[in-house]
Amino acid sequence: MHHVVVEQWSRGSSPLHALDARAKLGALLGFLIAISTTPPLAQAAFAAYAGVLFSALVAARLPLGAMFRRAALVLPFAATFALITWWSGDGARALALAEKSFLSGLAALLLIATTPMTQLLRALDSLGMPRPLVLVIQFLYRYLFVISEQAQHMRLASRCRQGPSAGRRSRFRAAAGAVGVLFARSWERADGIYQAMLARGFTGRFPAFAPARFRIRDGAFLVAVTAISVAIRVSL
């Protein structure tokens, strides 16, 4: 599945990968706010944002084509609304909608492609996200792929059993049954996981192998990106 690719990217080594996740998160927010408040007619500003992102992509040594394709996942939604906007006679605004959502998606992708999920979650935790939510996201991410794979196996198995001729009603009932079984298996798996973790001394938070430290260069990066975003926003 394609998410694994991002996971691999995030393990890379580059100056961007080495930065503290909090600095990158803050820089991302500043950048996104700048994009969000840019008026639709400021095409030069959009070009400048794209330039910043492009140089960051190069600095992070990420595969450009693959990154662009992934960021393009936002385009179907954006294109729909852009078309409607264009249709109601506001061409500039339509273009800006598509540009804003693509650039923002690319920026968010840049964060996740240079930051392993564990680091990102630790950053969110230390910035005050409620602990239950952090724990839930952590477990969700860990077991997402396990349980998704189980669902795919079940789908395949039920297709093999039914054949193409099954009626809609019976297929519907089979799908409901599959959801029920998946629920049961997830619940039991959760129980098992939890018991196993308790047996290994789980205290309610995951231990960090390397404590995150906010160094001078993290602060410098945060300030620099924010300053560039503001400068683009003001001057272009």
């Binding site: 992934r70 409620p130 991410y141 669902a151 519907f172 959801v179």
Partner: protein, 324 residues
Amino acid sequence: MHIPDGFLSPPVWATLDVAAVPAVALMARGARQEIEERRIPLLGVMGAFVFAAQMINFPVGLGTSGHLVGGTLLAITLGPAAASIVMTAIIVLQAFIFQDGGIVTLGANVVNMAVVGVLAGYLPYRLVSGAGARRDGDNPTSTRWRSSAIFLGGVLSVLASACLALAELLISGVPMPRRMLWVSLGLFLVSALIEGVITLAAVGAIERLNPLWVRSPKDSGSRALGVVAIAAVLLVVAGVVGASAAPDGVWSLAAQLGMSAQPPSWLHAPLAGYQVRNFESTWVRKASAGIAGLLMTYAICALAGRAMAARALTTRAGVRQRSA
């Protein structure tokens, strides 16, 4: 409908980000009451279940298939607050990993789907506990009441979050012709009905495997959550009515009504100071409002966390005193 970045105007996303923080904090607190604290990690696995269950296709006729969205299903199995936390986690992950929904619009998506969607979906189920439908085994009337509540929950959940998202887009000034508006409302209704049917079938299947997995309406969720749920539904109705009255955005309505370019004062949310279609207003005000919104979000978050921790300490101390 996950709103990506770039679609909502700064006042809209800033307001919703600020609104989402206390809402999620409240839900996190509620989840601790609904689920034993030590079982909180279980919720993550159930979130993964929802992700995976969305891959299972339900044939819904006309050659198309739908899938479960899951807010209502989670609300009546895990409890509304826990369900809300799980949905929030799903939305955060989708925004970061799958580029499905934006980062600055995270608050909007969380409010639409994880707070309003879950609470609206849970509301009918909560209400049947008061409507004479005690869950006493084989009483057919009460079973029918319960089934219709589950179905209605699925419908309301999807309808509420979709309508809310649409209203936010309209208020942000994304133009939409009136005919298009009706078409999309129709599509929302169809997908809402599909969610109702699928939720009902899935809950039935889960209940057959183990009846204890489905909570009885009475002991799920506090009364405060019920009140919040009703408020959430009312908010959606108001938002949709308001937005559909002015499909070109609230600002143009204001202009039509002869107000000057200045929006009415009640629209000056704490952060507003900029107008969506009025680009002469200085960037400083816009940017500083955005940043102020974030700072406020952070401050509220930190304060709510402190207050919650303090209260948890005192209640625990109280319990200990009583037991001593």
